[in-house]
């Protein structure tokens, strides 16, 4: 579903945001993308949505070669990928409903159908009561839910969540990730960039670690001790590619 092969991204300043990154994400997977600030997490998301082009390498998303994709098709690609942006990117002069309905309007979905879809999603993420409020009137957690709701309106095959728990308290952060987990269980491929090691430890998912633009680790869960995600994820066995890492080293990735 998603394949990055020897991808590098060099900025005009000469700094490499990513160097020689390769990984694959299968359909329906839930992947945590971890790494310190500036490690290249957001750059990967920008490359996947064709917001930026890699300097070298190959990126394939759902059989679409991102580099060769004509400009006229970029909007089609972006409709297939839901994104929860790090800075949320909600329109401050529109109500929460108007923000969430935007992807449907962009896709020329009938107003009446769009209304039903949006209300259903708002109900699911728990912000239906705030439908006519403006972003400034909502709390951080509610805004994250609104951004998540907007990313889900077009039922995307892939969901990219860039630090969706940033600046949230632990309880709200866990609620957001649980929500993502539920979405993932319905078949949506999710890549979530995060700093929150508690979340990563708690939810038994594959972890891709980045450090200074390089792939540090790709850790896949080999044994699912829990059928569903819960907070007690103590007895998970981690299998690390290409080499096993010690727990202490895992902590350093954040």
């Amino acid at each position: 579903m998603i394949r990055l092969h020897k991808v590098s991204k060099q900025f005009r300043t000469g700094v490499f945001a990513l160097s020689d990154i390769s990984f694959e994400v299968e359909k329906g997977e839930f992947v945590f993308l971890v790494g310190p600030t500036g490690s290249g997490k957001t750059t990967i998301f920008r490359l996947l949505t064709r917001e930026a082009l890699p300097t070298t390498g190959e990126i394939v998303v759902d059989n679409w070669d991102i580099i060769k994709l004509p400009v006229s098709k970029v909007s089609h690609l972006r409709k297939k990928i839901g994104v929860v942006f790090q800075d949320l990117k909600l329109l401050m002069d529109r109500t929460i409903f108007e923000n969430i309905v935007l992807p449907l309007e962009v896709s020329n979905i009938k107003t009446i159908d769009a209304k039903i879809i949006v209300e259903e999603i708002m109900e699911k993420v728990g912000i239906l009561a705030h439908r006519d409020k403006f972003p400034i009137q909502l709390s951080g957690g509610e805004l994250q839910r609104a951004a998540l709701a907007r990313s889900l309106t077009l039922s995307p095959d892939i969901l990219l969540a860039d630090e969706p728990t940033g600046n949230l308290d632990q309880v709200t952060a866990f609620e957001i990730v649980k929500l993502l987990s539920e979405i993932n269980q319905k078949g949506t491929t999710i890549i979530m960039a995060t700093h929150n090691k508690d979340i990563v430890k708690t939810f038994s998912k594959r972890i891709i670690s980045l450090n200074k633009g390089q792939l540090a680790k790709d850790t896949t869960i080999s044994h699912y001790s829990l059928k569903s995600d819960n907070i007690d994820a103590g007895n998970k066995k981690l299998e690390t590619k290409p080499k096993p890492e010690k727990k202490k080293e895992e902590d350093e990735d954040f």
């Binding site: 006229s72 909007s75 089609h76 972006r78 935007l102 962009v106 896709s107 907007r150 077009l154």
Partner: protein, 288 residues
């Protein structure tokens, strides 16, 4: 429908910019309307003068009718005459009385005997007027020749000059309008840069973003055209009684409704073209 809603939303969110754009467009179309009225009036005046007898030959008192008929026939044979009309002394008196019906003193003093008979002649081509004028002047039957070539040619040259100056000014005003509209729409695009970026990121196509700005330009153009037309037509309607009195005898006023509605239609088409062009330039310039 959504595009129109977004367009209206954009207009309402920045009323002063919208006002500036509409004001500039109104000025342009106000000028276009007034210039068109002027051109219409001068063209009508020229055709009025052209349709009037271009040469009038007044005969001596003692001239016989047979001599006048012979002269008339000889002129007709030249094939340069489009119309020729004999005005007898009695006809001349009728015309005099009609022209001075409000002045009894002038009517009392004049009889048919002192008014000369005349021939009112129009030529097929205006350049033949001089030759006819000379022929008549050389005739011993004719006492005086009145020759209107100068009136028509002066009026024609004035109209041509007016047309050139007016067209030049319309072009300049249209260019100014386009530049101002490009700047205004450009400012609006810059103000909505973040919104546009977000819309792009969630999959909005290029034209989904561009259309509201395109319609905005068209809206300003059309509102400007309608306002310009309404103001100029209103002013013309108000001034019609005074102008009719001033241009006594020249049948220009009132301007036909079909002409005025036709002008409105053309101005709206021009407004759409100007609005589209301005928006397109702004979108190309600011929405890369």
């Amino acid at each position: 429908m959504k595009t129109f809603k977004t367009t209206w939303h954009n207009i309402r969110r920045s009323p002063y910019q919208a006002f500036a754009a509409v004001f500039v467009m109104t000025l342009t179309f106000l000028f276009i309307s007034f210039f068109t009225f002027l051109l219409y009036g001068s063209t009508k005046a020229i055709s009025y003068f052209e349709s009037r007898p271009q040469v009038t030959a007044f005969f001596r008192q003692e001239v016989k009718q047979t001599d006048i008929d012979n002269l008339k026939d000889s002129l007709m044979k030249t094939d340069k005459i489009s119309s020729i009309k004999f005005v007898s002394k009695e006809d001349a008196l009728k015309i005099y009385r009609e022209q001075n019906k409000n002045d009894p003193l002038l009517l009392e003093l004049v009889t048919a005997d002192i008014l000369p008979a005349s021939l009112e002649i129009s030529t097929v081509k205006i350049e033949d007027l001089s030759e006819i004028n000379n022929t008549l002047k050389d005739s011993p039957l004719v006492s005086e020749v009145v020759f209107q070539k100068d009136v028509v040619s002066v009026l024609t040259s004035w109209t041509n000059a007016l047309r050139s100056i007016g067209l030049g000014l319309i072009i300049v005003l249209s260019l100014v309008s386009i530049f101002i509209m490009v700047i205004i729409i450009g400012i609006k695009i810059s103000q909505k840069k973040q919104d546009i970026e977000i819309m792009r990121l969630i999959g909005a196509g290029g034209w989904y973003i561009r259309w509201p700005f395109m319609f905005e330009g068209i809206f300003y153009g059309c509102v400007g055209a309608i306002l310009g037309w309404l103001i100029s037509t209103g002013a013309l309607w108000y001034a019609t009684p005074f102008l009719s009195l001033f241009l006594k005898g020249i049948p220009i006023f009132p301007l036909p409704l079909v002409f005025l509605l036709g002008l409105l239609g053309i101005e709206i088409i021009v407004a759409i073209v100007l609005g589209t062009l301005s928006s397109f330039v702004a979108v190309l310039r600011y929405l890369k």
